[in-house]
C-alpha cells in the first residue's frame, strides 16, 4: 500500500503537468491572469506530490533506490519505469519547484502577450517532461523525455513565431540538442548490446558486469553519453545555442535554460555512475570530463565579460557555471559529486533569480542592453536586492550559497588530485565577480538616464519569485546543512563514500573547514561596522549634476549625462584590450569555421542521396514495387 501511494504520487507529479497542459491549451477565452494562475497551480501540485514522495522516501533513506515498473513491450524488456533515489528526487524537486516560480512570474510578465494558451501549454509540457526525465527508470524512458524537453524548448524559444530571429534561435537549439539526443540513442544501443541480459533498466544495469559486449561498446556508450551531455548542458563546443536562445521570454530562459533543461546533461553524467559503475569512474574518463568542464568554464566567462546584452551575458555565465558542475561530477569522488550537485541546486536558485531580474528590468525599461540602464536601485529596490544577492552568490562571495558549493568544488578537485582544475575554477570565479560588478553597477548604481526617470518596480507576482529565490540563496548559504543532507545522500548513492561531514556548526572536508553561521555573523558585523562609520562621518549629500560645475569636464563643452556616463561597455574595454589575442580567435570565425565545415560535409553527403528524388512519379512507383518484391522474396526464403 505504501509503495503504491508513493508510486502514484510520483506518477501524478509527472502526469499532472501534462494534463494541465492539455486543459490550458483550451483556456483561450480566459483572462491572462487566470490562465497563468491555472498553469502555476499545475506545477504547484506537481511539486506538492514530489515533496510528499520525498518526505516518505527520506523517512527511511536506507530503502533507496526504489524502482517501479509498468511493463510495456515485454519482448524487448521495455517498460515504463520510475527510479527513485536521492539524485532523482533532488533534481525533480528543483525542476517542479522552479517551474512553479517561473509560471507565477509569467502571470504578469506575459500578461500583455498574445497566444498565451500555447505558451502555458508548452511550459507545462516542459515541466512534466523534465520531472519525467529525472524520475525515469530506464534509459529509453529517459531518452523519450529528453527529446520531449528539447521539443518543448523549441516551442518556447520560438514562441514569438513572427520574429525570424526567434525561430532561427529555436531551430538552432533544437538541432544541437537533437544531435545530442541522437548520440544518446547511439549510447543507449551500445549499452543495450553490451549488457549481459540485454536491458536498459537502471536498477538492472547497476548490478551488471558488462561481460557481454566488451570494452569497446561500453567506451562507445560513455563517449556518446558525454557528447549528449555536452549538447544538452551547453558545454564547449556545443554551447552556441544558449546565447541565441535568450530571445525567449525571461521566465522561459530562467526555467529552461538556467534551472532545468541545461541540467539534464549533468544528470546524465551523474547517472552514468549508476548505470556504468566501474567503467565511467576511471581516471581517463574523469580527465576527459574534467577537461571539458574547465575549458567550458573559461570560454563561458570570457565571452560573458564582453557582453552588453544582459540576457546573453547571463547565458554565457550559465555555460560557465555548468562547467563547474561538470567539473565536480567528473571528478569521480563522493565529495566531487556532492559539490557538483549542490552547485546544480544553487545555480538553479541564483541563475534563475538573475534571469528573472533581467526579465524584470526588461519589463520595466523595455530594453535588454546594460548600456541603457543606470541608477535603478532607488526605483526598483526589490529587483536590485535580488540581483545583488544573486550576483554575490554566483561570484562565490560568502556567506551566500554559491560560495559553499564553489568551495566544495575547489576542495573536491584538490582532494582528487586535480589541483590545476581548482586553479582554473578560482580564476573563473574572479572573472565572474568582475563581470557581475559590471552588471550591478550598470543596472542599479550610477546615474539614471532621462528616459528611465519614471520606471516602476515590477508587480507582486513577479516580485515573489525574486524574493523567494534571493532569500533561498541567503538561507542555503548560511545554513547549508539542510540541502547538503539530501545532496550528500544523492552523491553517496552514486559513488559510495562520505562526501563531507556536515555538523550543525559547519562543514568539514578533508581539505578544509567552513563555518557558515560564524562567517555570516562576522560578515554581518563587518557590514554594520561599515554602516556605523558611514553614518558617523560628515557626509555630503549627493548633488544632481545639473549645474555646470558638477558636469564632467570635456574641454569646456556642455555634454549631457548620457554621453559621458560610465556604462557597461566601458567596463570591458580594458579586458578586451588586454586579452585581444583570445577574443580575436572568436571574432575572426573561431568555432564557426568548424561548424560550417561540418555542415558542408553533411550537405555533400546528403547531396549524394538527394539524387534519388528525381521528381518523376513513375520512378517512385518503381522503387516501391522493387522494395515490395525484395520483401516478398525475403519472406519466402
Amino acid at each position: 500500500m505504501e509503495a503504491l501511494t508513493l508510486e502514484f504520487a510520483l506518477l501524478l507529479s509527472i502526469a499532472v503537468p501534462f494534463i494541465w497542459a492539455a486543459v490550458v491549451s483550451g483556456l483561450g477565452r480566459a483572462s491572462a491572469r487566470v490562465q497563468g494562475g491555472f498553469a502555476a497551480s499545475g506545477m504547484l501540485l506537481s511539486t506538492g506530490f514530489l515533496v510528499f514522495a520525498a518526505s516518505r522516501v527520506m523517512a527511511e533513506p536506507t530503502g533507496l533506490p526504489l524502482a517501479f515498473k509498468r511493463p510495456w513491450i515485454p519482448a524487448f524488456g521495455l517498460a515504463f519505469s520510475l527510479y527513485v533515489d536521492a539524485l532523482s528526487l533532488l533534481l525533480a524537486l528543483v525542476a517542479s519547484g522552479f517551474g512553479f516560480l517561473a509560471l507565477l512570474y509569467s502571470v504578469d510578465e506575459m500578461r500583455r502577450e498574445g497566444g498565451l494558451p500555447r505558451y502555458y501549454m508548452w511550459m507545462l509540457f516542459f515541466g512534466g517532461s523534465m520531472v519525467g526525465l529525472f524520475l525515469a527508470g530506464d534509459l529509453f524512458t529517459m531518452f523519450i523525455f529528453w527529446e520531449l524537453t528539447s521539443l518543448a524548448s523549441y516551442g518556447l524559444i520560438g514562441f514569438h513565431k513572427e520574429r525570424l530571429e526567434d525561430v532561427g534561435a529555436a531551430l538552432k537549439a533544437f538541432m544541437l540538442t537533437h544531435l545530442g539526443g541522437a548520440f544518446l540513442l547511439l549510447g543507449i544501443f551500445a549499452v543495450y548490446l553490451a549488457s549481459s541480459p540485454h536491458t536498459l533498466d537502471f536498477e538492472a544495469l547497476a548490478g551488471q558486469a558488462f561481460t557481454g559486449g566488451g570494452m569497446l561498446l561500453v567506451s562507445l556508450a560513455i563517449a556518446s553519453f558525454i557528447i549528449a551531455a555536452v549538447a544538452k548542458s551547453v558545454q564547449f563546443p556545443m554551447h552556441n545555442w544558449l546565447p541565441s536562445a535568450t530571445v525567449a521570454p525571461s521566465a522561459v530562459t530562467a526555467y529552461l535554460h538556467a534551472a532545468a533543461m541545461v541540467k539534464a546533461g549533468v544528470y546524465l553524467l551523474a547517472r552514468m555512475y549508476t548505470v556504468l559503475p566501474g567503467f565511467f569512474n576511471v581516471p581517463s574518463w574523469n580527465l576527459v570530463v574534467v577537461s571539458i568542464g574547465c575549458v567550458t568554464m573559461l570560454v563561458g566567462v570570457m565571452n560573458a565579460l564582453v557582453q552588453s546584452d544582459f540576457k546573453r551575458l547571463l547565458a554565457y555565465h550559465t555555460i560557465s557555471q555548468i562547467g563547474y558542475m561538470v567539473l565536480g561530477v567528473g571528478l569521480g569522488t563522493t565529495l566531487g559529486l556532492a559539490a557538483g550537485l549542490f552547485h546544480l541546486l544553487n545555480h538553479a536558485l541564483f541563475k534563475g533569480c538573475l534571469f528573472l531580474c533581467a526579465g524584470a528590468l526588461i519589463y520595466a525599461t523595455g530594453s535588454r542592453s546594460l548600456d541603457d540602464y543606470g541608477g535603478l536601485a532607488k526605483r526598483m529596490p526589490v529587483t536590485a536586492f535580488a540581483c545583488l544577492v544573486a550576483s554575490a552568490s554566483i561570484s562565490g562571495v560568502p556567506p551566500f550559497n554559491g560560495f559553499v558549493s564553489k568551495w566544495m568544488i575547489y576542495g573536491a578537485a584538490i582532494e582528487a588530485g586535480y589541483a590545476w582544475a581548482a586553479v582554473i575554477a578560482m580564476f573563473t570565479s574572479a572573472l565572474t565577480l568582475a563581470s557581475f560588478a559590471k552588471v550591478v553597477h550598470s543596472a542599479f548604481l550610477g546615474s539614471t538616464p532621462e528616459r528611465l526617470r519614471e520606471v516602476k518596480e515590477v508587480p507582486a507576482t513577479m516580485k515573489i519569485p525574486l524574493t523567494v529565490l534571493a532569500l533561498a540563496c541567503i538561507l542555503f548559504g548560511v545554513f547549508p546543512a539542510a540541502p547538503l543532507s539530501l545532496v550528500g545522500l544523492a552523491a553517496s548513492g552514486l559513488v559510495p563514500g562520505l562526501p563531507l561531514a556536515v555538523y550543525s556548526f559547519g562543514l568539514v572536508t578533508e581539505i578544509g573547514v567552513w563555518l557558515p553561521t560564524v562567517a555570516a555573523l562576522l560578515l554581518f558585523l563587518g557590514i554594520l561596522l561599515g554602516l556605523a562609520i558611514y553614518y558617523a562621518s560628515a557626509r555630503v549629500s549627493p548633488v544632481a549634476p545639473t549645474a555646470d560645475k558638477y558636469k564632467v569636464f570635456v574641454g569646456g563643452e556642455d555634454v549631457s549625462l548620457e554621453e559621458v556616463s560610465f556604462t557597461s561597455h566601458h567596463f570591458y574595454s580594458p579586458v578586451k584590450s588586454i586579452l585581444k589575442p583570445l577574443y580575436e580567435v572568436g571574432e575572426k570565425g573561431g568555432l564557426d569555421r568548424l561548424d560550417y565545415g561540418i555542415a558542408r560535409l553533411i550537405d555533400r553527403a546528403c547531396g549524394f542521396f538527394r539524387k534519388v528524388h528525381t521528381g518523376v512519379l513513375s520512378m517512385y512507383v518503381f522503387w516501391l514495387l522493387l522494395a515490395l518484391l525484395v520483401f516478398a522474396l525475403m519472406l519466402w526464403w
Partner: protein, 137 residues
Amino acid sequence: MSLFRLSRKKSPWVFHVSTGSCNNCDIEIIAALTPRFDVERFGIVLQGSPRHADILLVTGILNRQTLERAKRVYAQTPDPKLVVAVGTCACTGGIFRGSYNFAGPLDRVIPVDVYIAGCPPRPQAIIDGIVKALEKL
C-alpha cells in the same frame, strides 16, 4: 597654516586655458615649464583637467566662441582657485579690443587675480606674476 594650504602654496598646479590667443603667450607659458626656466622647482605642474588645478592661466581675448566654454571651465575648477591673465590680450583685449569677435575683456566675465601684461610676456614675468599670485592663496 594647514597642510592643504601649505601644499597649495608650495606646489600650485596650473591649468592653461586659451580663449582664442595667437599662441605666443601659450608658447611662453610652455617655455616657463621647460628646464631653462623650470617652474617645476616651485612645484608647478601643468594639469590636463581643471579639476586638478589651483591656478588657471588664461590667455587670449575671450572671443565669442570661447566665452561660454571659459565660463564653464572656471566653474569646473574647484575652490580655492586663482585666475592669472597672461598677456595683454587677456588683460585688456590688446589690439583686438572692439573687433567683431571680441567678447571680453576677461575680467568682465571671470574674476582675475593677477594681470601679467606683455605681448607676449617673458617667462620671467610669468613666473614673477605667479609668485605674486601665490600670496593670495
